[in-house]
């Protein structure tokens, strides 16, 4: 009996082993399949997928772009990064010394960068800081003397900084101010005839700075302005909906300059936009360019020095270090790259 039992047991054991090996073979093949799928996914996805960082401030000095502060969905940030346009790499620089914030402005005056104003999650802000790339150090400058605000515009030209429009927590603004770094002082600049707004853009072509887009009380603005830096006067240009096929109006876009043409890219109008429009200052006309290839997103950052332009999708710094894309307006569209 014992022998028979053992025989049965042995038969069962063999059955079990067979089942086990079949199971293991199946598992091994399953596992290999999983592995292949994972690899494929990694290749398809951006390596740096994660929560978006938005509302970062940015400026360009020479061939280096700088971007910092912003909001990552959980926290307001103080980290500050540089992007080398020639070497195509990032570095984490000295932290922004002010409170963590987003919707701040960034601009360049004479090889120094400036970041100021913005929103810390509770209040609009009026403090400004300058960054010296030769020393990698920040210095607080004179606080903006008027109402603190966020989502304003700012630009540097002829050795001065200019800062205006934005949202003060209750109202949108249309005042413009001038910052003089030699005296570290602010003065109001009169003469802007446009409407109040927030989240507008500017770009600079030669001695002129062009300003447009933005939103106020849910209305997207269609007026477009040129600022003559020599006379500090504003001139109204043709509206952004002058032609029937224009779809330029938007907010939270980016503005930049490349080869003496101006560009308005990304942003939001109802939904987020991928479109890019090119401005020809000699004819005061706009032309649509190939849409931005990456996912549409508002509050992008752009680095441009008139010779090169890189747009990143509102996730700066680093997060998505492979997220920046160089814009070649005259190359034919190639969906392979």
């Amino acid at each position: 009996m014992k022998y028979i039992y053992n025989m049965k047991g042995r038969v069962n054991h063999i059955k079990m082993l067979t089942m086990a090996s079949v199971t293991l073979c199946l598992m091994a093949s399953c596992s290999n399949d999983d592995e292949d799928e994972d690899l494929g996914n990694w290749i398809d996805q951006s390596v740096f997928d994660g929560s978006p960082r938005s509302g970062s401030a940015y400026f360009t000095i020479g061939n280096i772009g700088y971007s910092g502060v912003g909001y990552d969905g959980d926290d307001y940030l103080t980290s500050f990064w540089s992007y080398d346009m020639d070497g195509d790499y990032w570095s984490q620089k000295a932290d922004f010394p002010g409170s963590a914030r987003n919707a701040a402005v960034g601009f360049t005056i004479n090889d120094k960068g400036y970041i100021g104003s913005g929103y810390d999650g509770l209040d609009e802000l009026a403090d400004f800081y300058s960054y010296d790339p030769t020393t990698n150090a920040w210095t607080e400058i004179a606080t903006f003397p008027s109402t603190p605000r966020r989502s304003a515009v700012a630009f540097g030209i002829n050795g001065y900084g200019y800062f205006g429009t934005g949202f003060d927590g209750d109202n949108d603004r249309k005042d413009f101010w001038k910052y003089d770094p030699t005296t570290d002082s602010w003065h109001e600049l009169v003469g802007f005839g446009g409407d109040k707004r927030r989240a507008a853009i500017t770009f600079t072509i030669g001695d002129y700075v062009y300003m447009g887009t933005g939103v106020s009380n849910g209305i997207y603005l269609d007026d477009f302005w040129a600022f003559d830096s020599a006379t500090e006067s504003w001139t109204q240009k043709l509206d952004l909906d002058e032609e029937d096929d224009y779809s330029i109006v938007r907010s939270n876009a980016v503005g930049f300059t490349l080869n003496d043409y101006g560009y308005i890219a990304t942003g939001t109008y109802g939904g987020t936009l991928q479109s890019i429009w090119e401005y020809d200052p000699s004819t005061d006309t706009w032309e649509s360019k190939t849409d931005f290839e990456r996912t549409s997103r508002q509050d992008a950052v752009v680095f441009s020095n008139n010779a090169k332009a890189f747009i990143g999708l509102g996730r700066t710094g680093s997060l998505y270090l492979d997220d920046l894309e160089q814009f070649f307006p005259y190359d034919e569209y190639d969906d392979e790259d």
């Binding site: 592995e35 990694w42 994660g50 984490q92 150090a137 710094g317």
Partner: protein, 114 residues
């Protein structure tokens, strides 16, 4: 009957164990397939690091992040620990932003003051 049960239990455990092993194996293989690497290089009287993604430089850090001024890491080990931290964050799909508390945790001596 007892033996059959024991055999079943054994196979269940073995299968479970192998399943975990295979999962873990494929997981770690996937991770290592993201071709991120660090390189340490000398800068002035100290060291910097760079993080490479395949044949492209992603981050080049000649100076200690966060700190004002241009101070390289004092030792190759400091630079290497920091570079490895950045890579581990990128592999976890986190932002490679380093914070003061992380650099203190990495025992970078320049952050002992904070």
């Amino acid at each position: 009957m007892k033996r059959i049960l024991v055999a079943y239990v054994f196979i269940a455990v073995a299968t479970g164990f192998l399943f975990l092993r295979f999962t873990d194996y494929s997981f770690s293989t996937t991770k290592s397939k993201i071709p991120l690497q660090s390189e340490i290089f000398p800068v002035g009287d100290g060291y910097g690091y760079q993080i490479d993604l395949e044949d492209r430089v992603l981050i080049k850090q000649e100076y200690i992040p966060i700190l004002e001024g241009k101070r390289p890491f004092s030792t190759t080990e400091d630079a290497e620990r920091t570079a490895n931290k950045v890579i581990s964050k990128l592999l976890k799909k986190e932002s490679p932003i380093l914070t003061i508390s992380e650099l203190k945790e990495l025992q970078i001596p320049e952050f002992n003051l904070y």
